[in-house]
């Protein structure tokens, strides 16, 4: 199981994967927006998206878990 974490404070701009999707290593799961920059947060290894912990528009802090990939 891998926890997909926010690398910095910001808001969830777009969620680009659905629960149940199989994703590859490096595939974007969530796009954060911080300081006017869109920052893609990707899966570190291949797996299936098990849970999305945030919704578009949510504010997140650095280290918050965004999604779980099994």
């Amino acid at each position: 199981m891998q926890e997909i974490k926010a690398s910095m404070a910001g808001s969830v701009w777009k969620i680009v994967a659905n629960v149940g999707d199989s994703v590859e290593e490096g595939q974007d799961i969530v796009i954060l927006e911080s300081m006017k920059m869109e920052i893609p947060i990707a899966a570190e290894s291949a797996g299936t998206v098990n849970e999305l912990k945030v919704a578009e528009g949510d504010f997140v802090n650095e280290g918050d878990v965004l999604a779980i990939v099994e």
Partner: protein, 450 residues
Amino acid sequence: MISKVLIANRGEIAARIIRTCKKMGIATVAVYSEADQQADFVTMADESFLVGPPRVNESYLNIERILEVAMEASADAIHPGYGFLSENEQFAEKCAAKGIIFIGPNSNVIKQMGSKIAARNLMKQAGVPVVPGTDGVVSTAEDALETAKQIGYPIMLKASAGGGGIGMQVVQSDEALAKAFESNSKRALNFFGDGSMFMEKKIDNARHIEIQVLADEHGNSVHLFERECSIQRRNQKVIEEAPSIFISDETRKLMGEAALQAVKTLGYTNAGTIEFLVDEQENFYFLEMNTRIQVEHPVTEEITGVDIVEQQIIIASGNEMTVKQDDLQIDGHAIEVRIYAEDPVTFFPSPGYISHMELPEGEQVRNEIAVKEDYHVTPFYDPMIGKLIVKGKSRNEAINLLKQSLTTYKVEGIKTNLPMLLNIVDHPQFLNGNTTTAFIDKYYLTQRKN
């Protein structure tokens, strides 16, 4: 004459506009979001109004609320600064409808210059050189390949609705173009809801050099020479200087004339900047026009002695500007560096708490600053936390003062690009003035990777 200005902006530019208003005896009104309650510009203004939550759509881009405050405070003019509503033609129109002066050009010009394709076609009509490329959008990969035959490689593929470098790619061959077209168009559709693309010839070893202009309603217009802004990361400027040591006096004259020709053709008024790409042979090509004050305007102020914000207010009041072309001369050399709250290698933002801060001081050192010690830099706005501007009699003198000033500049608690700036100002290619738009990719990032 304008007697009360509302500043529809935040950070260093809000503070800078308030300073000039005070000098002119004009009352000031600040608007701020919940995230900016502790910011200095709020207390500097004569009056200040909370306009909404941190997110820009609910605060600094909230046109109705900002106009409501302007009416309530009886402001007779609004200065939009840069970014936010500064190039929003609807905002300019709505100000006019309420009888409030928008300190900038009319909404029609803002609209024309806001469309990359319309701007390009207007400049062609005005006789200003443009980069060889498409006059309209290219919708399919087949069209793109056909167009490539006329333009010739290398080609810069750009998203029509794009910004911040998204959907932009340089291609060298038909195969690369076909592939890049599909992926960038898809990306642009994802990001901007519009997948249309356009194509331009890629100018090799290009420099980004821009001309500052001022024009009033009485038919007077001047250019305030150039700014060299080639050193960029993520297609955003990092270091700007004036004058450019690359262009000859003859090119400077031609670029100034082209800029004034554009101003006349557009019927432009107030401050504006015409950005050009300049190739190795000093051919210059129109890139875009910014219909507002620029972040890097201080370097022009330092070498000409003109307060650009003051002239903006005089012009917006309907008066004749007090600057004449024949009186303008380049005095010395000025350099600005932008201090960004970001990782100096990955350029990822670094919001957070500033535990300690020290600024360089000196007669020829100017700080424009948005933050302070014991202050939270929030993730809601641009990462630029300040600008450091230095002036010298020569470029070398300015560089030495810049190095010295950067050494004493301290921001602790968050990551900043200060280490990168120190690295650049020591780089032999920067010292030689060999600065192209590829500078950071070519010298700084390559060096970091090794």
